[in-house]
C-alpha cells in the first residue's frame, strides 16, 4: 500500500472524519426543539404548595401566576399542563370557588385529556355540602 506524506494524509483523514461529525453535532444544537410551554416560576410555585411550609401566602402565589398568565396571553405563549388547574386550586384556598371552577373548566378546554379528572373536581365544587355523617369516598 502506497502512503506518501503520512502526516498530511492523516490530517486529511482526520478532517474527513471530523467534519461530518462536527456538522451533525452542530446541527443537533441548531435544531433543538423550541419549548412547548412557558414555565417561568410555575415549578417553584408547585413546590411551595407541595412542601406544606407556608413560606409564601396564597395571595402572593396567585399574583405571581396571574402575572405569568397575562404575559403568556400577551406573547401567545402556551401555559403548561396543570397551570390553570393549579391557579384554580389557589383561588379555592382563597375562598373563591367561582373563579376556581372557571379555571378547572379552562384546563379541560386547553387539555381535553384532563377531562375526567377536571369533571370530578368540578362536580365536587358543585355538589351540595355533604351531611357530617356520610362516609368520605
Amino acid at each position: 500500500m502506497d502512503m506518501d506524506a503520512t502526516p498530511r494524509y492523516l490530517s486529511r483523514l482526520a478532517l474527513r472524519c471530523a467534519t461530518p461529525t462536527l456538522l451533525l453535532g452542530l446541527a443537533a444544537c441548531a435544531t433543538a426543539p423550541r419549548p412547548l410551554y412557558t414555565w417561568e416560576d410555575f415549578p417553584a410555585q408547585q413546590y411551595v404548595v407541595l412542601v406544606h411550609e407556608g413560606s409564601s401566602t396564597v395571595e402572593d402565589q396567585t399574583r405571581a401566576l396571574e402575572a405569568q398568565a397575562e404575559k403568556a396571553r400577551a406573547t401567545s405563549a402556551a401555559l403548561p399542563p396543570g397551570f390553570r388547574a393549579h391557579l384554580g386550586y389557589l383561588y379555592l384556598q382563597a375562598g373563591n370557588p367561582g373563579r376556581a371552577r372557571e379555571l378547572l373548566l379552562a384546563e379541560k378546554v386547553a387539555f381535553p385529556e384532563s377531562g375526567p379528572y377536571m369533571d370530578r373536581l368540578v362536580a365536587k365544587l358543585d355538589a351540595p355540602p355533604a351531611p357530617v355523617s356520610s362516609p368520605s369516598r
Binding site: 412547548l36 412542601v51 399542563p81 386550586y89 370530578r120
Partner: protein, 222 residues
C-alpha cells in the same frame, strides 16, 4: 484509488470503535402498544434524610414530561385528592391499585418515583450534593410496566454543568420561595428529573402525543 480505499477502512474502524460503548437497548414494545397520553405522577417515595426531597423531585417532574408531549396532572390537586381520601404518605399512595387510580384520575399511566439520594454530604475537604431518582411508568389500564429508568446528578460533575441551566434555575424569586437550606438539593433535583424523564433520550421515555414526533424510538448515534 488504493489510498481512498484505505482511508475508508480507517474511517470505518474509527467509527466502529467510537460506537463500542452503547448502553443496553430498552424494549419499547409495551410502550408503543400502550401509547399513554396522560401521566399521573405520584408523590415520590423518599429514602433520603431530607423531608423536602419528595416535593422537590415531584415538582420538577412536570416540566420534562410535559415538554416530552404528555399531559401531566397538576401535582397540588393530586396531592389534595389523596389527602381528602385519607392518604398522606407516598408509600401508601404508591400501593393503590392501578384500576383505582385510573377510576379517580382517568390517567393512562402513572409514574412511580423513588428518591434514593437527595442532599449534601460533607467530607474533610469537599462536599457533594447529589440527587438520584429511579422511575417506573405503569399503564393503568393493564398494570403493565411500560418503562423504567434511573438518573443522578451531582455537584461533583464539574464546571461544564454549573452554568446555563443551573444558573437560571435558582433566581432571586425562587431562592426567596424555597429558602437557602434545601437550595442545593432542589437545584439538582431539577437536573436529575430532566435526565430521567426528558425525551428524546437513549433508553428514555418516548416522545408523547403532543410532541412534534410522537413515539419515535431513539436510534443510537454513530
Amino acid at each position: 484509488m488504493r489510498m481512498q480505499y484505505s482511508e475508508i477502512l480507517m474511517a470505518a474502524a474509527l467509527l466502529a470503535l467510537g460506537g463500542c460503548a452503547t448502553p443496553p437497548k430498552t424494549d419499547y414494545t409495551e410502550f408503543l402498544q400502550a401509547r399513554p397520553s396522560t401521566i399521573l405522577v405520584l408523590p415520590p417515595v423518599n429514602d433520603s434524610p431530607d423531608v423536602k426531597a419528595s416535593p422537590a423531585v415531584w415538582s420538577h417532574a412536570t416540566r420534562p414530561l410535559a415538554e416530552a408531549g404528555y399531559y401531566v396532572y397538576p401535582a397540588a390537586l393530586v396531592d389534595e385528592t389523596f389527602h381528602q381520601n385519607g392518604l398522606t404518605t407516598p408509600t401508601d399512595i404508591q400501593q393503590i391499585a392501578p384500576q383505582k387510580l385510573r377510576e379517580v384520575f382517568g390517567a393512562d399511566a402513572a409514574l412511580y418515583l423513588h428518591v434514593s439520594k437527595f442532599g449534601t454530604s460533607y467530607a474533610v475537604i469537599t462536599s457533594e450534593t447529589r440527587v438520584t431518582v429511579e422511575a417506573k411508568l405503569v399503564d393503568l389500564r393493564t398494570g403493565t410496566v411500560l418503562w423504567s429508568g434511573a438518573a443522578t446528578s451531582s455537584s461533583a460533575e464539574g464546571q461544564q454543568n454549573q452554568g446555563g441551566l443551573i444558573g437560571l434555575l435558582v433566581g432571586a424569586v425562587v431562592r426567596q420561595i424555597i429558602g437557602s437550606v434545601s437550595e442545593a438539593g432542589y437545584k439538582y433535583a431539577a437536573v436529575t428529573d430532566d435526565r430521567l424523564l426528558g425525551a428524546p433520550r437513549m433508553n428514555g421515555l418516548l416522545l408523547g402525543p403532543r410532541s412534534a414526533t410522537p413515539w419515535q424510538v431513539p436510534a443510537p448515534r454513530q
